[in-house]
């Protein structure tokens, strides 16, 4: 049987190749999308876990504080952090002794944070017990659990940096390996470590710390806050200075991880978005495979009938059908997946990086499950198509197999006759009624294609590809001071600094941002909310640039403000921390997305930007300048070498970010083009197949009509009418569905509804036009056959 199938496939090269090509293209696209979607989540997960695992750690803690914190955590019930590790650094040993050289005191989730493995024995549970690193036992093979071990190590006095050689004897309680730290370590318990310090008269090391991960794998902000507060209650003595020291010196948050957790939403949104697209393509693919197989059956139905007539039994015929389709679908799917994998190697990483701006390294993950899903999906759709035929074959006499397509159910004596007024249209409608299931499938096919194209084209249309405007469009560098430390003296730029800069050779223009005294006016809160906003003041010239970029009208003679926030508030209250002074501002504008346009101006997402007039009218004193934006031909090195009044100054090249954003823009264009082309190719393939299948299954009938005198152009008219009706139905269904999807997508992207009427009109017109063109070319293609050949299906 296999030989016959194989020969049959080779003899029908044209069909076989066209079917395989169709399956290759659609499988390639679907596979590519599924792989990208899956890779996003994997990249994100590996990125999150690739760096330091902690959410935060607190340094400069005494042993008593560490002990108190551990005790407090253990009594916190459900608020207790999932993972925490207290450490006391003891000292360094001579490097020659082993791979490990550091002695630490640990208590807590050592396995989790340091990724150790206990080879034998146990972790320290009593004083003076020690776990030694495996490499030490290799160079000292006679060492065993329970032995006493004297180590000589160097401790440092943090106050005067003096070093002290210390010798101490420990009892070996365990042997560990796979310690992640460079230099590796031996470790004892916290008490022993603390005792070593006190025995040698040394103060507590600044590197004593507690590391906390509030919840494994997830950032639970509330839980993190509770943990921080629990620690600060123990560590902070209540004075503002001490609190400030804790907040800014002792408490070290894993900003990268926090920022990356914040990106989780983006990752998931993009991943879900791409996966949804891949699902839609998967639906198109299954419809396409179904169509392809149905088309091939339409061409071969008489052959099957003949095979049955000459002696092939049902089972053999079914095996023939399944074998042929299995070979074709498998060939198409395997080539398609290979092509998809190659395609992803070429473009996927650009696409992935383009969609999310992150430090995560995006790479395409090769997972067996992606291949399996794709393969199974195509096989299943092929099987469903074959199933329909197989079920019919089993019930039908061999001689009647040819008449599968005959109308039986839908048309009866009660069917209304159509008038001769628009005869061809009536004929078209009757054709659609002839097999309602087939017409329904064709409508679904068209609807899915339309839907896909409407969604893609709308996104394409509303995103727009204008270059993102940033400060880099009108300046080259920003010179900034540390605005979080405004209380300190000499941390603002002065008028003299501004004058110096303006008078520097090759400096074309300087824009300024101002800050306010003492934090008192530097905080604002939204009505009934506790979010802290930052308050910035732009000079009028900077306002002009800002307004131009954001398309707003600015009048410097009036108080003016813009709120950059994810939420829109009608009123913002600016208050003084230390006095009762406060006033309300109703921002003239607010932007959710504008912060992205202005990210180069280093704002965080919650900023109220005011003008001089507003500051003046509310008696807001300002201390000086916190930033300059400079347009200049000078280099960054030259600017960095300049001396300013502010002590903490840093210079940023604004064009650095620009190159990245331009490459992201290119990435966006690539992915949009990729998706649009994929959509169009797949949709047109499906439509073309649908029309071909109609033509093929009714070839004889069309031949008879031609014999009766139907002109070719009239035949085309009938086909056009049929496709037009199906298209219009598909349009009527796909428009509301696509609107729902597009509303959701536009909210995710822009926080508001953005629908492009033009895109909708164009897509519908192009598709309907394309469908009619396909019909025309198919009809035209039939002119090469004589009418006799059509009637007798030669």
């Amino acid at each position: 049987m296999f030989k016959i199938v194989y020969r049959y496939i080779l003899r029908n090269k044209k069909y076989s190749i066209s079917a395989i090509i169709g399956i290759v293209v659609s499988t390639m696209l679907m596979f590519s999308m599924i792989q990208i979607s899956a890779s996003y989540i994997i990249s994100y997960r590996s990125f999150i876990s690739s760096g330091a695992p902690q959410d935060f750690y607190v340094v400069d803690l005494s042993y008593d504080e560490l002990t108190a914190i551990n005790e407090k955590f253990s009594n916190m019930g459900k608020d207790k952090p999932d993972r925490y590790l207290s450490t006391i650094y003891v000292g360094d040993m001579d490097y020659d002794l082993s791979k490990a050289s550091v002695i630490m005191g640990y208590e807590g989730d050592l396995d989790y944070f340091k990724k150790t493995s206990l080879i034998s024995g146990e972790y320290p549970s009593a004083e003076n017990e020690m776990c030694v690193e495996e490499s030490y036992t290799i160079s000292n093979p006679e060492l065993k659990i329970g032995d006493e071990l004297t180590l000589v190590f160097t401790m440092t006095d943090q106050t005067d940096e003096k070093q002290l050689k210390v010798s101490r004897t420990f009892k070996v309680c365990g042997i560990i390996k796979d310690t992640m730290d460079t230099g590796n370590f031996f470790f004892t318990d916290l008490k022993t470590a603390a005792d070593i310090y006190s025995e040698n008269g040394l103060p507590c090391s600044k590197s004593n710390s507690i590391t906390v991960e509030a919840e494994e794998g997830n950032l639970n902000e509330d839980k993190q806050v509770i943990a921080v507060n629990a620690i600060s209650d123990i560590v902070v003595d209540g004075t503002p200075e001490d609190r400030r020291y804790f907040n800014y010196e002792q408490l070290i948050r894993n900003e990268e991880k926090t920022a990356n957790y914040a990106e989780e939403g983006s990752f998931r949104a993009v991943s879900v978005g791409i996966f949804l697209l891949s699902l839609i393509i998967a639906v198109c693919l299954t419809i396409f495979v179904y169509n392809t197989i149905t088309l091939s059956f339409a061409r071969k139905i008489s052959v099957f009938g003949t095979m049955r007539c000459i002696g092939l039994n049902n089972r053999q015929l079914i095996r023939f059908i399944l074998s042929e389709q299995f070979l074709i679908v498998s060939a198409g799917t395997i080539i398609g997946m290979a092509s998809g994998a190659l395609l992803n190697l070429a473009v996927a990483e650009k696409i992935m990086s383009a969609l999310i701006n992150t430090a995560a390294s995006m790479k395409v993950e090769q997972k067996v499950s992606t291949y399996l899903i794709t393969y199974l999906l195509t096989l299943v759709s092929a099987f469903i198509a074959c199933l329909k035929l197989i079920l019919k074959i089993r019930k039908t006499n061999p001689v009647n197999i040819r008449t599968f397509n005959a109308t039986k159910k839908m048309l009866t004596e009660k069917t209304k006759m159509f008038s001769s007024k628009n005869y061809l249209f009536g004929l078209a409608l009757r054709n659609l009624r002839r097999n309602f299931a087939k017409s329904a499938i064709q409508t679904v096919t068209l609807t899915v294609s339309f839907l896909l194209c409407l969604v893609i084209s709308n996104v394409f249309a509303v995103v727009g590809f204008n270059s993102v405007k940033t400060a880099a469009d009108f300046s080259d560098y920003s010179i900034q001071t540390n605005i979080t430390d405004l209380k300190s003296e000499n941390n603002c730029f002065t008028e003299a600094d501004l004058e110096q800069l303006c008078s520097t050779d090759k400096v074309e223009k300087v824009y300024t941002e101002k800050c306010f005294v003492d934090y008192t006016w530097d905080k604002a809160k939204q009505q009934d909310e506790d979010d802290n906003l930052q308050v910035m003041l732009y000079d009028d010239e900077l306002w002009m640039q800002f307004s131009k970029i954001n398309g707003i009208t600015y009048d410097g003679s009036k108080p003016f403000s813009v709120l950059i926030s994810e939420k829109e508030f009608k009123e913002v209250e600016i208050y003084s921390r230390d006095t009762d002074n406060k006033f309300s501002v109703k921002p003239d504008h607010w932007f959710a997305a504008a912060s992205q346009l202005n990210y180069a101006l280093y704002h965080n997402s919650n900023t109220l930007i005011i003008n001089e007039k507003l500051a003046e009218s509310n008696n807001m004193e300002n201390k000086g300048y916190c930033a300059f934006l400079v347009k200049t031909d000078r280099s960054m090195t030259e600017l960095s070498a300049m001396t300013f009044s502010a002590s903490d100054v840093y210079v940023t090249d604004l064009h650095d970010g620009r190159a990245e954003s331009e490459s992201q823009l290119i990435g966006m264009i690539i992915i949009s083009g990729y998706i649009v082309i994929a959509t169009i190719v797949l949709s047109f393939m499906i439509i073309s197949n649908t029309i071909k299948e109609n033509m093929t299954s009714r070839r004889s009938e069309y031949g008879v009509m031609r014999a009766m005198g139907l002109k070719l152009k009239d035949l085309w008219t009938v086909a056009c009418y049929e496709n037009l009706v199906l298209s219009l139905i598909a349009v009527l269904i796909s428009i509301p569905l696509s609107l729902i999807v597009n509303v959701y997508i536009s909210f995710v992207l822009f926080d508001k509804i953005k629908i492009s009427i033009l895109a909708y009109l164009l897509v519908n017109l192009i598709f309907i036009g394309a469908i009619e063109l396909f019909a025309y070319f198919n009809i035209k293609g039939s002119t090469k056959d004589s009418i006799v050949e059509m009637i007798y299906e030669r």
Binding site: A406, T407, K408, L411, T412, E413, K414, T415, M417, F418, S420, Y423, L424, L427, R430, N431, R433, R434, S700, E701, V704, M705, R706, A707, M708, G709, L710, K711, L712, K713, D714, T783, S786, I787, V788, I791
Partner: protein, 222 residues
């Protein structure tokens, strides 16, 4: 020589399949008069159906002329040929070839409607009555017997009052009893309305009713 309703002059047709070429019609010269009943006889593969298809414009030919009422097929584009088939030629196929989505009445009036003409309801009603299809107007082909379907096909062929009716083994799929009924209806219908009838058949009993028998052998008229 009086020009008949249709005349073929030195018509040749070849069938090409791959590198092979088969000479299906060899220098065919044939005149058919108006109102004549002509039977084309010949063995299987002799070229009977090919000749009929060429006459009806369903198939092309490679050389010669086919002229119907002064109109040369060589000069016709698709529109003109379609018009010819619609208005002047009626076909009856062996396998009936009714259009499955149209009921009996719609099948019969199909050539009239696609030609843009008005249906002569009285005439059609007469044809339906003559062919014993009364009461079946709204039935669909799959609800009819073979004989009934063939009668519909005949009625369809007559619907546009064609000049010539071409019937390719119209009784080939029918049993003897029905066959003779159908032949009688066909010949009666044709005579009644003054059409010319050209029929292919194997059956010598049918051939005896013809005004003329044309025998074709190996693509040549003998």
């Amino acid at each position: 020589m009086i020009m008949g309703i249709i005349s073929l002059k030195n018509v040749n047709k070849y069938y090409k399949t791959g590198d092979n070429s088969f000479h299906a019609l060899k220098d065919i010269n044939l005149e058919i008069e108006e109102g004549e009943f002509v039977v084309i006889l010949g063995k299987s593969g002799s070229g009977k159906s090919t000749l009929l298809n060429v006459i009806g414009g369903l198939d092309g030919y490679d050389s010669g002329d086919v002229i119907m009422e002064g109109f040369n097929y060589q000069n016709a584009d698709d529109t003109l040929m379609s018009d010819l088939r619609c208005r002047k030629i009626g076909f009856v196929f062996q396998a009936y070839n009714l259009i499955p989505v149209l009921n009996v009445y719609e099948n019969i009036t199909f050539p009239v409607n696609i030609g843009g003409g008005n249906v002569d309801k009285k005439y059609i009603a007469n044809v339906i009555k003559e062919l014993g299809l009364e009461g079946k107007e709204k039935s669909f082909p799959n609800q009819l017997s073979g004989g009934q379907q063939q009668r519909v096909a005949i009625a369809r062929a007559l619907a546009n009052k064609p000049k010539i009716v071409l019937a390719d083994e119209p009784t080939g799929n029918l049993d003897t009893a029905i066959s003779s009924d159908v032949i009688e209806l066909l010949t009666h219908g044709v005579k009644e309305y003054g059409h010319t009838l050209v029929m292919i058949t194997h059956d010598p009993d049918i051939a005896q009713f013809a005004d003329r028998i044309v025998t074709i052998e190996d693509g040549k008229i003998v």
